[in-house]
Symmetry: D2
């Protein structure tokens, strides 16, 4: 039985991914404080853009791990088709289409 | 002297905006847990898309308040030009261009 | 009766906007040829990204003209509310939300 | 020597991809006419969004063919790494990050 660690290759960069998520949490808290303090809308909008960009960066890292790991394995084991379909659904969403 | 409440009209929906930001924080924490638990990459990617969408929703609300408030005031007081320039810079970033 | 030229301020940069649209047409034709010639998918994808970016650039210019012109006029004439609502709908779409 | 048809799998849907590109060209021409005719900015902005969406749809189809074809072949032939790196660069651009 494969351990989860080997099953999902994103666990390789788990520490870095977790650090990124904690930073995103911090950004969300910071924006909350800016709203509480009635800070200028444009400054808040810029911080929201930064949060959104940081989130998409994690998505790209997760998707890269997924392609290098799960999708590549599935292709080697000749069951790539459904994995590629699933991947495309997520990419479409990530591209917002 | 204008109170901050009247200065920045997004404060009208401040409670709702703060609730949205707290929800986003919760989403970030949830994704952190998913990564810790080695959850399936595609499920994580979908949650990251949801977080990014929720963030952009707050941006749109903030920008709407900004246009209805600060930008509209500036236009009425014949100093709209610089506000529109500033707004376009943020919109370009929000459109990721 | 206002002439269309004064009605829609984007006509100021009409020549430049038309030139941009003709360039976009040319980009579309170029990509068509690349597909016909069985060119490498990644090269085609990059040209499609460039076409999409050029299109969004025109959107931003049109929206800026619209805000500076129609929306600003409407605000000055105290009928800004519906124009801002309409603008937000388009911005939401442009931000793909 | 591999024939282009087998080399680039997007050629499978070549007719459909070419039809989509011709439609995009037509959309660009239509927007050009709208600008020439001083049509309402919001209507033009909406048509630009549609053109951009149609372009991204072709990108997704090309990328899917690329993953199913070139990337999958490369993975099976144990030279997937560079193809996945290249793919990620394009995805990052397609996600506008």
């Amino acid at each position: 039985m494969p351990a989860p660690m080997s099953q999902y290759p994103y666990t390789e960069d788990k520490t870095s991914l977790l650090a990124r998520m904690r930073k995103i949490e911090g950004q969300a808290k910071g924006i909350e404080r800016m709203i509480e303090d009635n800070r200028y809308c444009i400054d808040i909008a810029q911080q929201l853009s930064a949060l959104s960009a940081a989130t998409d960066e994690v998505s790209l890292l997760i998707l890269q791990s997924h392609i290098e790991g799960c999708v590549a394995n599935a292709i080697r084991e000749k069951r790539g088709e459904s994995h590629i379909k699933e991947l495309m659904t997520v990419l479409r969403k990530a591209m917002r289409r």
